[in-house]
Each structure stands twice: as structure tokens, then as C-alpha cells.
């Protein structure tokens, strides 16, 4: 009986102190960690079409089409199929593909989630966080030392 009363006292304490741990999304968006991995952003200006990201992708989410001169024509990424492992960003020698913190994306059908290179470029930064700054990617294994400042935008 005492145990039951104790249980009841515990929940009543919570009811009376009035504190809540849920938030009213989307008015109050929870904090996203700087390392958070969201939708990709792609820069054709930076890309050297080395196809390493396509290669490393565990589930063939990235599709690259090149002409016979090895000039890039298409860069498609299915953000609905992607498992957000960040290996493409890790492997990219020039930071042409990276993952923003943006997790709010929608589509009416799954086909809407196949992004081409223009759509990928248009993905907004989330709350102006520059992902690279917080992630300090270690690219030693790929290209030796990093090449200093990266002005992505």
C-alpha cells in the first residue's frame, strides 16, 4: 500500500511542478547538434568528378553521369534512400558534397526525393551552421593534409 501511495505521490509531484519536456514544434525547434547529418548540399563548382562518393556509398544512393570526355553531366542523389552515413562527405577530397543539418524535407511521392545537382545546390543551410567547421573532418587518409580555408558558399 505504501508503495502504491509513493508511486502516486511521485506522479502528482510531476503534475504539480508544471514543467514539461516536450516542445511545440515547429514554433520551437529542438537544438540540432553541429555534427548532425541532414540533407546533402552539392557544389558543381568544386566537384572534380572523381566518383569516389559514388563508389563509397553503401547503398548506391549517388548516381553520377559523365560524358565520354569525363566531364560531369548529372549528379543525382536520392535523399529518401540515403542512410545518412556521411561517407560521401568523408571521402570527398574537395568538400564538394557535404551534409547540412537540415532535416526538414518532404515530398509527395518518393520520386520527389530524387534530387539532381541543382536541387542539391539549393538545399539551405540549417540555421546558418557551417557543418565543416564543427566536424573538423580528418581527411589525412584520403588527400594528406587539408587545404586550409574552405569557402563553400
Amino acid at each position: 500500500m505504501i508503495g502504491i501511495l509513493k508511486s502516486m505521490a511521485t506522479t502528482m509531484k510531476h503534475a504539480l511542478d508544471g514543467s514539461t519536456f516536450t516542445v511545440e514544434y515547429p514554433e520551437t525547434a529542438p537544438d540540432v547538434s553541429p555534427r548532425f547529418r541532414g540533407v546533402h548540399k552539392f557544389s558543381q563548382e568544386r566537384c572534380i568528378w572523381c566518383r569516389q562518393c559514388e563508389n563509397v556509398c553503401p547503398n548506391d544512393t549517388i548516381q553520377i553521369v559523365m560524358d565520354d570526355q569525363r566531364n560531369g553531366e548529372q549528379y543525382n542523389l536520392h535523399i529518401g534512400q540515403c542512410i545518412y552515413c556521411r561517407l560521401c562527405e568523408e571521402v570527398c577530397p574537395v568538400d564538394a558534397i557535404l551534409l547540412t543539418e537540415n532535416f526538414e524535407f518532404t515530398g509527395d511521392t518518393k520520386h520527389d526525393l530524387v534530387y539532381n545537382k541543382e536541387q542539391l545546390k539549393a538545399v539551405p543551410w540549417y540555421k546558418d551552421i557551417d557543418p565543416l567547421e564543427s566536424r573538423e573532418p580528418d581527411r589525412g587518409a584520403w588527400i594528406g593534409e587539408g587545404e586550409g580555408e574552405v569557402d563553400y558558399q
Binding site: 508503495g3 508511486s7 537544438d31 553503401p58 561517407l87 580528418d138 587518409a141
Partner: protein, 550 residues
Amino acid sequence: MSTGLERQGREVTEDDLEALIGDRALGRDDHLNAPGFVIRPDDVQDVLFDLRDEAGFDHLSCLTAQQYEDRYESIYHMKKYADPTQEVSVVVPTSIDDPVSQSAEPVFRTADWHEREAFDLVGIDYEGHPDPRRILLPETWQGHPLSKDYDQEQPQVVTLSEHANPIQPDHHDQESDTMFLNIGPHHPATHGVLHLETVLDGETVVDVDPDVGYLHRCEEQMCQSGTYRHQIMPYPDRWDYVSAGLLNEWAYARVAEDLADIEVPEYAQVIRTMGAELCRIASHMLALATFALDVYGDFTAVFQYGMRDREVVQDILEDLTGQRLMFNYFRLGGVAWDLPEPRGEFLEKTRDFLDGLPAKVDEYHDLLTGNEIFQVRTHDTGVLEPEVAKSYGCTGPVARASGVDYDLRRDDPYGYYENLEWDVVTRQGCDNYARVLCRMEEVEESAKIIEQCVDLLEDWPEDDREIQANVPRTLKPDPDTEVYRAVEGAKGELGIYIRSDGTDKPGRFKIRSPCFHNLSALGEMSEGEYVPDLIASLGSLDIVLGEVDR
């Protein structure tokens, strides 16, 4: 930390084993982790009985089946509960044309489900098996997907008669007055997509047969088609997908690092240990919350408080790894990132969580374990005797709550656990209540470990913070190297067997899932009890169907 010295498991040497198996050994097929003996398919029971009774190998950890060009092979990975570093593999080759091997089910109950899986996916028949059905795939499936000659293009035809409603004839038994009841696959208490074929006598459970496989996602096949270096690591997160990610990743990291002989820097090991224990807390919190949900029957206070406290852990893990569930944080030879900057802030956040934990644990005791009705509901229900637990290969909190003192973090040390002060929690209750308490105490032990890791990380010399060893970009282990390694996952012993075939992808990748074993003991635990106890027992096993079905 108990040293394990008090447990007098006699060391069995290879010579002893050779003498024990004697002429029955056709040859040797040693694995990296254990000596391997090749035996004839009709000697299986004989040899396994001897190994269990004479040499003390009482834990059939895993059964791997695979097909070579010229033969099928079943490998029984055996260990001792008293000392899991003593291992032996029993290799049973069978011919391509007539793959029939003797069943090991009379020796170890766990072989039941394992051999069904081997039959299902690879196509080996086990003679004398009490229930030779498919387990993961539907009964109507054509062919065995992991066999060499399997045609992936072939359509899976299910005829109308086979597609008929299985309960159409109504399994009502006139004589015994029982009722057949499908609990699941869509039911509020099955924690995923699980189907329990239950026979009830009134409200008493007469028979329960878990029907698994609804969430089978070919995880083994997927890992076999990924490269060792990067492409496999994201997938372990998805086996036990409720916040046990880093623990699962460690299973792969451990086995692959052993296979490719990679040394992990000590600093990375400390980070790994801390991350893994954070995951364990998150996972146990969820287990506690959902168990309360099963017993209370609503999304009530305990569930919400559990989720609220778990949320804090998730935030810390997000800061560390960049994701809340699918971390992909470990890399072969280390971890992806150092601690987030500013480091002090991160460590402070972790410390705050640890400082607040005791008060929260007290609250759970007030709310849950001290409640008389909760005690009446959980005491002496879902009883799992230690010997039964061993026979079913149960591990983790489920086994420890039955008094089986078995924890790979201590008994087969990896990471940084050896150098830290903590205890293995065991309880003698064997019932649902013991399992709940065991998890709650493990949360406190994990907190101890994290606290020590945080201290270590704070004081670690600045010039020695190496997070990844120098690992070649492409790994190609020597062909036909075989290794089976396990770590202590959130639910128990999570093991992986890899056979390399000389390429940069595994030739065979087999996952030993703790949930799979624990779930197989459900029938033993709940038969003769009431439906509510069945539900409570299921909740106390803390299964994740993603890991059961893989």
C-alpha cells in the same frame, strides 16, 4: 570488478580436445578465435554431447551455415559460460548433392532455431530436427537465398491455396477446449512486428510459438556485398535500432580488426567505451519504459519519464556522433571524430547527466519497483531457470537475471573495460522482476564506467589524442581466414562470424543476435501462465525485432 578467478573452469587445452574427439575428427579447420575440428555429419550429437559434458563447453554461441563450391558447411561455435575465451569450433561438412547433417537440438535447445535458419537461408537439412520449418522467410519461399545456385531473379510464386487465411479452419480443438489466438503481427505489445501463435486454455497459455521474420532485411547478405573498410559499418546500427548502435558497431569493429590485425589507439578505445555505455543506458531506459508500458497498459508516467531521461543520453550521443540512432561513428582502427569542441562543455554535459542519474533511478524505484501491484505482477512470472537459459543460449541481462554470471566485457575483455572499476550485475530471481532490477542496476554500472571514461578523456595528454590508426584504404584479408568474435551488446552477446575470400568483401558474414536466442526461450518462460504474464515476459526479454530477424 570481479576477476573471474573464483570461477573454476578447467582450462581445456587443444590436446585435451584432440583426445576427446579422437577418431571422430576428420581433420582440423582452425579459426582465428578457436581450434576447429572437422567431423562427420552423423557424429554431431555425439561430439557435442562430449564437448558439453566432458569438456564443459556449455554455450552453443552460434551456428554458421555456408556453401562452398564443393560442399556445405555447418559450424558450431562453442564456448563456456564460465570462461568465454575458451572456444572450439565444430565444423560439419556435408555434400553438395545431399546436404544432410545430424541435428544438435537434443544437446542444445538453441540449435532448434539456428538449424531452422540454416535450412531456410542456406539449405542444409538437419536430420532429427523436431520442427524442420523455415523460420525467417515465408513457408512458400522457393529456394535458399544464401546458397550458391540461388536465382535472385526468380519470382516467388505463392499459390492461392497457400495464400489462404491460416486461421480459416479455426484451430478450435473440440476435445481439449483450447483456443488458438494470434497475438500479432499487429498488436500493441509485440514491440515491433512479431507474431505469437498462442494456444490458450481459458486465459492460460498452453503453447506459444513465436513466428519471426517479418522484419528480415537480408542484413547478412548486405554486409557480404559491402567492403570491409567503410561500407559495412553503417549497417550494424540498423540491427538493434533502438539506440544500441555503437554497441553493435563495436561487434563489427572488433571482428574486422581481429581479421585484418588492426591496432586501435588507446584514446579511441576510451571514446568507444564511453559511447558504448551511453548507448547501453539509452537502450536499458527504453527497455524499462516499454516494460512499464506492458504492465501498466498505457503510455503512462513511467514510459514518458523513461523517454525523457533517455532523451538526454540521445542528445549527448548526437553531439558526439552526429546522429541520434544511426550513428556510424566507429571506423576500423578507431572512431570518426574526436570529442566535439568545446570539449569541456561536452564533458560537462555528460557529467551533469551522470550527476542527475541517481535521483532519477530513485524516482523509478519509487514509481515502479516499489509499487506493490507491480511486484505482484512481476514476481515469479516468466521464470527462466539458469540451466534452461544456458541451453537456449540466453545472454545479457536476461541470463544475468537468472544468475548466469556471464558478461563479455569482463570475461572476454575488449576496449578499455579491463582498466576500469565496475561490477557485473547478477540476480538470482530468474523472474520478470529480477530482469527489471538487473537492467536498472546495469544502468548504474554503466554510469560508473562513463564517469571514469570522462575523467580519463579530460586528462588525456594533448599530443596523444589519436582517434584512428593508420588503416589501408582497401582491406583484403588473406583468403579463407575465419573468425568469430562477440561483444556484449545491449541485449546480450552480439557475435559476428566472417570468412574472407581474398576480396575486399566478406565471403560469409553471419550475425549472432542475442535477441534471437532470448526470444526462443519465451515459450519455456510463459507456458502455463496467463496471457498478461506472457506479455510481461515478452517485454522483459527486451527484444528488438530488427535484430531478431536481421
